[in-house]
Symmetry: C2
Subunit: 120 residues, 2 copies
Protein backbone atom coordinates (compact mmCIF):
# COMPACT_ATOMS: atom_id res chain seq x y z
CA UNK A 1 0.00 0.00 0.00
CA UNK A 2 1.19 3.48 -0.91
CA UNK A 3 0.32 6.74 0.79
CA UNK A 4 0.13 10.32 -0.47
CA UNK A 5 2.06 12.95 1.45
CA UNK A 6 -1.14 14.05 3.18
CA UNK A 7 -1.95 10.52 4.33
CA UNK A 8 1.63 9.91 5.40
CA UNK A 9 1.59 13.18 7.31
CA UNK A 10 -1.53 12.06 9.19
CA UNK A 11 -0.21 8.57 9.91
CA UNK A 12 3.18 9.70 11.18
CA UNK A 13 1.94 12.91 12.77
CA UNK A 14 4.64 14.90 10.96
CA UNK A 15 3.54 17.90 8.88
CA UNK A 16 3.92 17.82 5.10
CA UNK A 17 6.38 20.75 5.05
CA UNK A 18 8.48 18.92 7.64
CA UNK A 19 8.46 15.76 5.49
CA UNK A 20 9.59 17.84 2.50
CA UNK A 21 12.24 19.43 4.69
CA UNK A 22 13.50 15.99 5.76
CA UNK A 23 13.64 15.03 2.11
CA UNK A 24 15.71 18.11 1.29
CA UNK A 25 17.99 17.20 4.20
CA UNK A 26 18.45 13.69 2.71
CA UNK A 27 16.91 12.05 5.76
CA UNK A 28 14.07 10.63 3.74
CA UNK A 29 14.30 9.49 0.11
CA UNK A 30 10.82 9.78 -1.35
CA UNK A 31 9.25 7.97 -4.31
CA UNK A 32 7.39 9.95 -6.99
CA UNK A 33 4.53 8.90 -9.26
CA UNK A 34 4.34 9.56 -13.03
CA UNK A 35 3.42 13.23 -12.60
CA UNK A 36 5.91 14.01 -9.84
CA UNK A 37 3.79 13.62 -6.74
CA UNK A 38 5.32 12.03 -3.64
CA UNK A 39 4.18 8.68 -2.33
CA UNK A 40 5.24 6.67 0.69
CA UNK A 41 5.39 2.96 1.56
CA UNK A 42 5.01 0.92 4.75
CA UNK A 43 8.78 0.83 4.95
CA UNK A 44 8.85 4.64 4.95
CA UNK A 45 6.54 4.57 7.99
CA UNK A 46 8.93 2.31 9.92
CA UNK A 47 11.84 4.51 8.95
CA UNK A 48 10.25 7.86 9.83
CA UNK A 49 9.11 6.52 13.22
CA UNK A 50 12.70 5.52 13.92
CA UNK A 51 13.86 9.00 12.89
CA UNK A 52 11.36 10.36 15.41
CA UNK A 53 12.96 8.28 18.15
CA UNK A 54 16.42 9.50 17.21
CA UNK A 55 15.11 13.05 17.39
CA UNK A 56 13.57 12.35 20.80
CA UNK A 57 16.95 11.22 22.04
CA UNK A 58 18.33 14.60 21.04
CA UNK A 59 20.13 13.61 17.84
CA UNK A 60 20.58 16.58 15.48
CA UNK A 61 19.28 16.63 11.90
CA UNK A 62 22.90 16.69 10.76
CA UNK A 63 23.70 13.45 12.58
CA UNK A 64 20.42 11.85 11.58
CA UNK A 65 21.32 12.67 7.95
CA UNK A 66 24.65 10.90 8.36
CA UNK A 67 22.84 7.85 9.73
CA UNK A 68 20.14 8.02 7.02
CA UNK A 69 22.63 8.16 4.15
CA UNK A 70 24.30 5.02 5.53
CA UNK A 71 20.95 3.28 5.95
CA UNK A 72 20.01 3.95 2.31
CA UNK A 73 23.32 2.35 1.30
CA UNK A 74 22.09 -0.98 2.68
CA UNK A 75 23.21 -3.71 5.07
CA UNK A 76 26.91 -3.25 4.41
CA UNK A 77 26.87 -0.06 6.50
CA UNK A 78 25.37 -1.75 9.58
CA UNK A 79 28.63 -1.70 11.54
CA UNK A 80 29.06 2.04 10.89
CA UNK A 81 25.48 2.72 11.96
CA UNK A 82 26.01 0.71 15.14
CA UNK A 83 29.01 2.90 15.89
CA UNK A 84 26.92 6.06 15.45
CA UNK A 85 24.31 4.67 17.84
CA UNK A 86 26.91 3.68 20.43
CA UNK A 87 28.50 7.11 20.24
CA UNK A 88 25.07 8.66 20.63
CA UNK A 89 24.41 6.41 23.62
CA UNK A 90 27.26 8.13 25.46
CA UNK A 91 25.55 11.46 24.84
CA UNK A 92 22.21 10.12 26.09
CA UNK A 93 23.85 8.70 29.22
CA UNK A 94 25.41 12.07 29.92
CA UNK A 95 22.06 13.81 29.48
CA UNK A 96 20.47 11.35 31.90
CA UNK A 97 23.20 12.01 34.47
CA UNK A 98 22.87 15.76 33.91
CA UNK A 99 19.15 15.72 34.65
CA UNK A 100 19.74 13.62 37.75
CA UNK A 101 22.19 16.27 39.00
CA UNK A 102 19.78 19.05 38.02
CA UNK A 103 17.01 17.49 40.02
CA UNK A 104 19.27 17.14 43.04
CA UNK A 105 20.40 20.79 42.79
CA UNK A 106 16.88 22.06 42.45
CA UNK A 107 15.68 19.92 45.35
CA UNK A 108 18.44 21.30 47.54
CA UNK A 109 17.41 24.86 46.65
CA UNK A 110 13.77 24.11 47.34
CA UNK A 111 14.68 22.70 50.76
CA UNK A 112 16.60 25.88 51.60
CA UNK A 113 13.57 27.97 50.63
CA UNK A 114 11.23 25.82 52.65
CA UNK A 115 13.30 25.97 55.80
CA UNK A 116 13.60 29.76 55.43
CA UNK A 117 9.83 30.11 55.07
CA UNK A 118 9.26 28.00 58.16
CA UNK A 119 11.25 30.48 60.26
CA UNK A 120 8.50 33.09 59.84
Amino acid sequence: MNYSIGQFSTITNISSPTLRYYEKEQILVTNRDAIGRRFYTEEDITWILFIKKLKDTGMSIKDIREYAILRYQGDSTMQQRLEILEKHKVFVMEEKAKWERNLQNLDDKIEIYKSRLNLH
Copy 2:
Protein backbone atom coordinates in the same frame (compact mmCIF):
# COMPACT_ATOMS: atom_id res chain seq x y z
CA MET B 1 34.17 45.17 46.21
CA ASN B 2 32.74 46.27 42.88
CA TYR B 3 33.56 44.85 39.49
CA SER B 4 33.47 46.34 35.99
CA ILE B 5 31.51 44.48 33.36
CA GLY B 6 34.76 43.02 31.98
CA GLN B 7 35.82 41.70 35.38
CA PHE B 8 32.35 40.39 36.10
CA SER B 9 32.33 38.67 32.72
CA THR B 10 35.62 36.93 33.56
CA ILE B 11 34.51 35.90 37.06
CA THR B 12 31.15 34.49 36.01
CA ASN B 13 32.30 33.18 32.64
CA ILE B 14 29.43 34.94 30.92
CA SER B 15 30.24 37.27 28.01
CA SER B 16 29.63 41.01 28.37
CA PRO B 17 27.03 41.10 25.55
CA THR B 18 25.17 38.28 27.33
CA LEU B 19 25.24 40.21 30.61
CA ARG B 20 23.82 43.24 28.78
CA TYR B 21 21.23 40.98 27.19
CA TYR B 22 20.21 39.63 30.62
CA GLU B 23 19.89 43.20 31.82
CA LYS B 24 17.63 44.07 28.90
CA GLU B 25 15.58 40.98 29.75
CA GLN B 26 15.23 42.22 33.35
CA ILE B 27 17.03 39.17 34.72
CA LEU B 28 19.81 41.28 36.11
CA VAL B 29 19.42 44.80 37.49
CA THR B 30 22.77 46.50 37.11
CA ASN B 31 24.26 49.42 39.03
CA ARG B 32 25.84 52.35 37.15
CA ASP B 33 28.60 54.72 38.18
CA ALA B 34 28.52 58.52 37.76
CA ILE B 35 29.27 58.39 34.04
CA GLY B 36 26.91 55.53 33.21
CA ARG B 37 29.26 52.56 33.29
CA ARG B 38 27.99 49.27 34.74
CA PHE B 39 29.39 47.83 37.95
CA TYR B 40 28.62 44.62 39.80
CA THR B 41 28.74 43.53 43.45
CA GLU B 42 29.41 40.24 45.27
CA GLU B 43 25.68 39.78 45.54
CA ASP B 44 25.41 40.00 41.74
CA ILE B 45 27.90 37.14 41.50
CA THR B 46 25.76 34.93 43.75
CA TRP B 47 22.68 35.85 41.78
CA ILE B 48 24.14 35.29 38.30
CA LEU B 49 25.53 31.92 39.35
CA PHE B 50 22.06 30.92 40.50
CA ILE B 51 20.66 32.08 37.13
CA LYS B 52 23.22 29.81 35.50
CA LYS B 53 21.90 26.87 37.48
CA LEU B 54 18.32 27.66 36.50
CA LYS B 55 19.44 27.77 32.88
CA ASP B 56 21.22 24.42 33.27
CA THR B 57 17.98 22.90 34.50
CA GLY B 58 16.35 24.04 31.27
CA MET B 59 14.44 27.06 32.56
CA SER B 60 13.68 29.56 29.78
CA ILE B 61 14.76 33.20 29.89
CA LYS B 62 11.09 34.12 30.08
CA ASP B 63 10.58 32.05 33.24
CA ILE B 64 13.87 33.16 34.73
CA ARG B 65 12.73 36.76 34.19
CA GLU B 66 9.53 36.05 36.10
CA TYR B 67 11.58 34.62 38.95
CA ALA B 68 14.10 37.48 38.82
CA ILE B 69 11.46 40.20 39.00
CA LEU B 70 10.04 38.55 42.14
CA ARG B 71 13.49 38.22 43.66
CA TYR B 72 14.20 41.93 43.19
CA GLN B 73 10.94 42.64 45.02
CA GLY B 74 12.43 41.13 48.18
CA ASP B 75 11.60 38.52 50.80
CA SER B 76 7.83 38.99 50.59
CA THR B 77 7.83 37.09 47.27
CA MET B 78 9.57 34.01 48.66
CA GLN B 79 6.44 31.87 48.66
CA GLN B 80 5.78 32.71 44.98
CA ARG B 81 9.35 31.91 44.07
CA LEU B 82 9.13 28.61 45.88
CA GLU B 83 6.06 27.81 43.81
CA ILE B 84 7.94 28.56 40.59
CA LEU B 85 10.76 26.27 41.69
CA GLU B 86 8.37 23.47 42.63
CA LYS B 87 6.58 23.74 39.31
CA HIS B 88 9.94 23.68 37.57
CA LYS B 89 10.90 20.62 39.57
CA VAL B 90 8.05 18.71 37.91
CA PHE B 91 9.54 19.64 34.53
CA VAL B 92 13.02 18.51 35.61
CA MET B 93 11.63 15.21 36.92
CA GLU B 94 9.92 14.62 33.58
CA GLU B 95 13.12 15.38 31.71
CA LYS B 96 15.00 12.92 33.89
CA ALA B 97 12.37 10.24 33.22
CA LYS B 98 12.45 11.05 29.50
CA TRP B 99 16.19 10.54 29.28
CA GLU B 100 15.89 7.29 31.18
CA ARG B 101 13.39 6.05 28.61
CA ASN B 102 15.55 7.34 25.77
CA LEU B 103 18.53 5.43 27.04
CA GLN B 104 16.45 2.26 27.33
CA ASN B 105 15.10 2.68 23.77
CA LEU B 106 18.52 3.31 22.33
CA ASP B 107 19.99 0.36 24.20
CA ASP B 108 17.27 -1.91 22.84
CA LYS B 109 18.03 -0.74 19.30
CA ILE B 110 21.75 -1.27 19.78
CA GLU B 111 21.10 -4.81 21.04
CA ILE B 112 19.05 -5.58 17.92
CA TYR B 113 21.87 -4.30 15.72
CA LYS B 114 24.46 -6.33 17.60
CA SER B 115 22.53 -9.58 17.36
CA ARG B 116 22.01 -9.00 13.63
CA LEU B 117 25.70 -8.40 13.10
CA ASN B 118 26.57 -11.57 15.02
CA LEU B 119 24.52 -13.67 12.59
CA HIS B 120 27.01 -12.98 9.79
